[in-house]
């Protein structure tokens, strides 16, 4: 895999309609390898839908997606994940009745590939414990390994979800509003974590907290009513009149 191009992910005229309603339209995204690419935009702009297209929760109505130069538009959700594109969800996606440790172990099991070993004892999973604990340490959850995930407070659930996502060792990480609903302290901790994660992988994140965006993002795409209306670094984007009108204007009104 030498000569990997500088662009890890590229979408061409990506479009999604829900029975006539256009949620994503004409999105040409180029994400540079190793960067943190933020997507911002008002509610209902189609940011989550864009993630859903990239991870094949939905099939695009039109357009293509290329990952490392390979067309992945036709692949299924699990195939995308196994290729190295793993996401977190806007509404924390955890397994509430499994323990914190078991949550992360599920990702490790998935990474190992499908296995239908219903005759093996659970003990065979214990050798994954140390690795799972490593990921939990990185998000500061190693003090509640055996808590039920559903008993965690909100901010820590998000942290667990990120740990689970990281356990897949994704090449490209998609984070849908990782700091939503967190207090300032957790926000800072999560931002630090994202920065650390970005060292050896690429991250696309949808984020409403502009402070976090300003601090982390190398590139920002502004999505409004399905379309990307502006792109660039924080200074460029925040100076753009279209953005001021459609997004910042609305937010500050």
């Amino acid at each position: 895999m030498k000569n990997k191009s500088d662009i890890i992910l590229e979408t061409k005229s990506l479009r999604k309609e829900f029975s006539g309603f256009v949620a994503v339209s004409g999105v040409n995204l180029k994400v540079r390898r190793g960067s943190i690419h933020a997507i911002i935009g008002p509610n209902g702009a189609g940011k989550t839908t864009l993630f859903n297209l990239l991870t094949k929760v939905h099939q695009p109505t039109d357009g293509t997606i290329e990952f490392n130069g390979r067309d992945i538009t036709g692949l299924s959700s699990p195939e995308i994940a196994r290729l190295g594109i793993v996401r977190s969800f806007q509404i924390s996606a955890i397994f509430p009745e499994l323990t914190v440790l078991e949550n992360v172990r599920i990702a490790l099991q998935c990474r190992r590939g499908d296995s239908f070993d219903f005759w093996k004892p659970k003990k065979t999973l214990f050798r994954m414990n140390d690795e799972a604990r490593g990921y939990l340490e990185s998000v500061g959850l190693d003090d509640s390994l055996n808590s039920m995930a559903g008993d965690l407070p909100y901010g820590r659930r998000r942290a667990l979800e990120i740990a689970t996502t990281l356990a897949m060792e994704p090449e490209l990480l998609l984070l849908d509003e990782p700091t939503a609903g967190m207090g300032t302290e957790d926000i800072d901790r999560t931002a630090d974590l994202i920065q650390r994660c970005a060292k050896d992988r690429t991250i696309i994140m949808v984020e409403h907290n502009l402070g976090v965006v300003a601090r982390l993002a190398d590139t920002i795409s502004v999505q409004v009513r399905g379309q990307v209306v502006a792109e660039g670094n924080y200074e460029t984007v925040s100076a753009d009149p279209l953005v001021k009108e459609a997004y910042l204007g609305a937010a500050h009104a």
Partner: protein, 322 residues
Amino acid sequence: MNETKTNVQSNIPVLDRWNLEIIGIVLVVLFFLVAPFFIYPVFLMKAMSYAILGMSVNLLLGYVGLLSFGHAAFFGLSAYMFGHFAKEMDFGVALSMLIAVSGGTLLGVLFAMIAVRRIEFYFAMITLALAQLVYFFCVQAEFTGGDDGLQGIPRGEILGFSLLENSHLYGFVLLMFLFCLLFVFRIINSPFGEMLKAIRENPERVTSLGCSPRTYKFIAFVLSAFLASIGGALKALVFQIAALPDVHWLMSGDGVLMALVGGIGTLIGPIVGALFIVWAQDGLAEIGMSVVVMQGLLFMATVLLFRKGIVGELGRLKKYFR
């Protein structure tokens, strides 16, 4: 809170789910060893074969989140096949049971191929519809004996033990029952079972982590049909009869009810549920109250009042032991 800095293995709470399950198994074994001295053994054997049906429904409902309303098909077909091969073909208990359980399991493969693709709501409907097809097939087919069913299925012997001897029969049913119980225990405590629980909790998340829930559901369904088939064959062996009620949708309903009443997602819940329901059915038959009405009431009470079922509600007490 002081459990934080120890290592993972020793860090597991003393009364976690796994330990409770072991305790449950031991209690169940003790109960069924001692009970025949006090309770009519046929009642216990009926409860055991029903409990196997309950466990099979619960494996799907409690651990994968799939509600099947079609398990009577496996239970009933297996009962019929066992009856047919033991009575008409004289194949003996062991071989007839092997064929019957294989037949029920294969039917499970067929059901799974059709039903597993559907989302939850349709899943219940599709399994019900498929099971009704099987029911009508059994009404029409010659070998089922129509309304009379297959009566007087011979008990014969197994491994040199004559099953005409009541204690031998009881021992055999108990062994098969224990096999099923341990089988379920193994499944739900395996790496595969861990994935099943994850799928139950959040299938979208599992998909986004690179596994496809469908294959897991498929295998779980077939394993469940396998169990239900064992239950059906045992029931035919004990009562020496296989008849239309065994494939009727009410039997599927009984399976669901046993899981619900006992506690879905608990290992021994369906066993407690089966004992309770078989007891209630026999008791009500004596006082002449409609079984269906009782079951309807029971169903509502469980859903409205104690959603976790008998064992589930008891399980809540465990925090007082910590």
